[in-house]
Structure formats: C-alpha cells, structure tokens
Symmetry: C2
Amino acid sequence: MIIGGGFPVSIQTMTRDALLPDRLSAVVQRIEALRKRGCDLVRFAVPDLPTAELLGSLSTVTDCPLVADVHFDYRIALRCLDFPLAKVRINPGTIGDEAKVRDVVAKAKDRGIALRVGVNAGSLPNSLDSEPDLALAMVTAAEMELEILERLGFSDVVFSLKSSDIGHTVKANEMFARKYDYPLHVGLTEAGPLVPGLVKNSIAISDLLKQGIGDTIRVSLSGTEEEEVEGGLSILRAVGARRYGVNVISCPRCGRSTFDVKSFLEQVSDFIQGISRPLTIAVMGCEVNGPGEARRADIGIAGAGTRAIIFRGGKVLRQVPFEQAASAFRQEVGRLCEQG
Amino acid sequence: MIIGGGFPVSIQTMTRDALLPDRLSAVVQRIEALRKRGCDLVRFAVPDLPTAELLGSLSTVTDCPLVADVHFDYRIALRCLDFPLAKVRINPGTIGDEAKVRDVVAKAKDRGIALRVGVNAGSLPNSLDSEPDLALAMVTAAEMELEILERLGFSDVVFSLKSSDIGHTVKANEMFARKYDYPLHVGLTEAGPLVPGLVKNSIAISDLLKQGIGDTIRVSLSGTEEEEVEGGLSILRAVGARRYGVNVISCPRCGRSTFDVKSFLEQVSDFIQGISRPLTIAVMGCEVNGPGEARRADIGIAGAGTRAIIFRGGKVLRQVPFEQAASAFRQEVGRLCEQG
C-alpha cells in the first residue's frame, strides 16, 4: 500500500486481539469485519518472537495491510521484516546499538518495508527532560531518530508525534510537517474513554488534516477497534477526505419525536455498516425538521403520527406502521443500492 | 442565568423524558444527575398546554435553568412565560399573526425571560427555497425573525443556526456573528448516532468556540442526555473553555497492555463522573508510555506485570493486585480530593 504523497488518508486501528495459534482464523475474520467498516491498516503489538511468527502466518492469509509494533528488541523487528507487512514500527533510538539498527534498516530496505518511528510524549528520551516546550521536545526526539536513519541512508519512514494533549500534538505535527516531507501518522495517544477520547481525537486530527497534514490516522480510544475505525471514518468524511459508506443524518433525542430514532438506528446499524457505496440516509423522528432534512438525503425515513414515511429523491415511497419500519427501510435501501 | 457577554459557555441538553404528573420526581432526579455531570441548561419540548403546566411545576422544584421548546402555538409560549424559565424557544415567524407575536414578546419582556430563535436548515421558510447557499439562507431566515423582534423593540434573544452539515453550520454562525452581537446557541442538528455525531459536533463546535463564537452549546446526538453533556464538557475542556471535573488520560486498547484499562474505567466511571474539582487522572495499561504519562497527572494508575501501581506527584503511593485496583484507586483519589 502507498502512504503519503497525495494518496488518500488511511485509517488504522491497533488490535488487542491476542495472536494465539488457535485464534488465527478468528483474528482473520475480525480483520475482514474491520476492513468492511473502512479500516485500511491493522497494527499488532509484537512483544516476542512467537508473536512475530504468528503475525507472519497472518500476513499470508489476509490481504489487509498489517503493521508490527515492536519495542526495544531488534531481533523481533528482523523477524517481522521476513513477512509481507506494510510497516514495522520501531524507534531506532531505543534499539541500543548502532550495529543492530544497521541490521534492521538494511533488511527493511532490502525487503521494501517502511519503518514507522513513533514519538510519544510519555516516553521521551531523558535528555529532553529539561525542555519546557513539550511540542518542541517531541520534534527534537523525532529528529534524533531521523538523524540515525538518514546517516544509514534510509528514508522509507513514516513518523508519528503523539501526546494526550491536543495542543502539543497539533503543534508538534505542524512543526515537523513544516520542516520535513516524511509521511505522518497522526492521532492522540491515551485519549481516554469513548466520549472524551473521540472529542479530543476529532478536534486534533481534523485540525491537522484541514492543513493537509496526516497520511494515516488512528483514533486511539479506550474502546473497541470498531469504534476507532468508525471514528476515523467519521473524521475523514467530516473534513471531506473520504466518501465511503453511509452518512447518517439522524434526530437527536427530543420530546417532539413520535418515532423512536435510537431504537430504529440500533435495528438497522449492522445493515448500514455493511454498505460501502456513498449514501446519505436520514432518520428523522420529528415533524418539525424531519421531512425537510429527509428530502435532501438519498433516502430517508421520518415519523409522522403512528406511521413512518420512507422518502427517496423528494418523493414518498411508502408509509408503514412503526413495527415494519426497519424491514421496509432495509428493503428500500437495498433496492436503491441495486439500482446504483 | 447569564448567557453571552463574556460569561462562561454553557452546556445544554434536551431531554426526551416525558413530563408526566407521576414522573416529576424522577425527572428532577435526572436533572440533578445531569447537572452533576456538568450540564447547565435542560431543554424540554412543550407540545401542549398540559406539558407547559408540568414544566411550570418542575421549575418550582429545581434550581436548574430550564428551557421550553415551543413550536407554532403562541398560547403555549404565553403559559410557559408565567414560570421562572431561563428561555423560551419559539420562532416568531412561525407564530403566524403579528398580534400574537406582540403578546409573546410583551410578556417575555415583562417577565425578563429570554427568547431563543432557532433556525434549522431542515425547516427554512419556503421563500428561501431558491437560495443555493444554504448558510446564507439560514442567516437570512434568522434575519427575518430578528426583523420582527427588533420592530417590537425586543433584544433579549439568543439565536441558533443549525444544520446537519458542519460546513454550512460553521459558515452560517460565522456570518451571523460578524453582523450581530446576539448570543449564539451553537451545535449541529440531526448529527447522527454517537460516534459520527460526536465527531461532527466536536469539529463544528470547537471550530466556532476557537473563534469566540458560541455562548451555549448542545452536542445533539441520537444517544443519551448523559452522552450529550459529557460530549459538551469534553469539547469545552478541549478548547480550554472549561476546567471542571476529571480529565482522564487513558490507554487505547493495544496488545502491550497487561492491565485491563477499559474494564477498570468501567468500574470507576460513576465515581469519576461525580468529582467536580479539576483533576487529571491517568489510567495506563502499558509499560511503554504508562509511567511517563501517569507521573504528569495529578494521580495515576499503571499496570506493571500482575500488579497495578498508583502514582501521585511523581511518587508511587502503593502497589496492589489488579483485583484491588479499583477500590485502592477510589481511596487514593478520595484522599487527594479531601486534602484539596
């Protein structure tokens, strides 16, 4: 896969699924499900050599680009580089010995596999402890890594500069992007639980993407991989960087609604997530804004008294009782998708 | 309560809780719980006169600022204005008859209650159908309402200009804020389910707040009121507009973690939500970034092997087995809060 250089921004998630011999087929299924939701890259922590073997096996049975996340141990990185991975994340500065770094870099170059250097504000080199500007400290840490790689003539690198703070992360990425042309993987780290984590990631990542900074993104959450991917996709759509799948316009909860939008959305959620063509769907409970918004969508449903009205292209397709709303809606969206 | 004019940005939610005579005490409890989470204003749809009576009763038993959401019927607005509400939302242009508008405005002025005029892209006047610039159409619709109110010498108005589209909403609010000094209630409408809805609201609302636009906000979601409030609070914190309660820095899911951060956060979630003093708490699973981030927080917990380490001010307070982590953490946070 191609990262950077004007190619579309990719969505990454990192999985917690343990790579165990008897779980490989379950992991493959999970990866395929994540891809259907819009995920482009899946990253795995590779803490030891047996895990590297398993990631290798996985890479031969899925065509999803995989990333190995390696820390400290160059032997693990070397083994990962035997397999058709998209990237290996390892920070040269933490390998410890220039000869070992040279081995890793030589093998990455030979195999045509990119390295990702990931600078995190939580684990900066001690030499930067006295730098009061955390963003500058992050950029300096990245430059220390870069210096090692450039000395070895290696440039197939993706950088990331992450902190749990929006301001520091945005500033560090802006500073780095002004000085260097290397592709950037952007996101916050340790952003927190779903709601605050999504808010912080949305603000930071959209700010950078709107400036043209960012080639891959990860919305890291103390949540599920599915939420990370859905969050990433929503951000790319929001900044106009991706048209993929369904954009749902739906009512907030309010006392005006006669139609239970939340429960309807839950009923059709899996169905909607499975649609890959760009489609705007309106799900409206309320007579005040409902029909107006629903008419502008590709297809829409709105409550009106005790019945639901399904709209398409400004025309009412059918009226059904609430209990038939989900099945009728699936049917009409299916028809629309078939007709292209 | 005071809205606009440099006062802090307020968080609003709109409840779906039905106002029924036998549910009033449950609604009061719900409102109090929402306030504890950071909510400043709760809005209720008032579709008929009996609901107006119930909202009136509610306003006498809670000191939470309440907003009545009224459509079309000036009699409902008039009845609402008998009670100590913070705002009545009604669009003069939809009342139908200038004499009726005059009655509403006179009573609002007499009672010192603000009106909120809410323009939604989904329900613009038909006369604006031919305007291709939706943001301009929204501003024009607001100006049509404003003209009626200014003619009647009424200026205690909060405006909102909402659409389900980030670009239109941001542009309409920017245009309006450049021309007028009226306070603005900002947010998207029909933003969709939790994940995409939160992403869109975060980007739109933070963009406006960073420009100094927005006096009250609502993160409208097809979700729960609690999620709306938590989302609003997270946005205000992210743009530096609010220091309130706990900021959680926590690990994303990743295979490096030995400590189950998600399940730990679920165990302490209610406890954390109940803390009103500003506090940064780090919950880290991973030895790579964990201790570094946790040390910078007011208090932190990080997994290390089979035990959890609780940090405070850069020092380890105690080490406990995972199963005692939640209770030990509650204890230490409690101590920290007591000591001020």
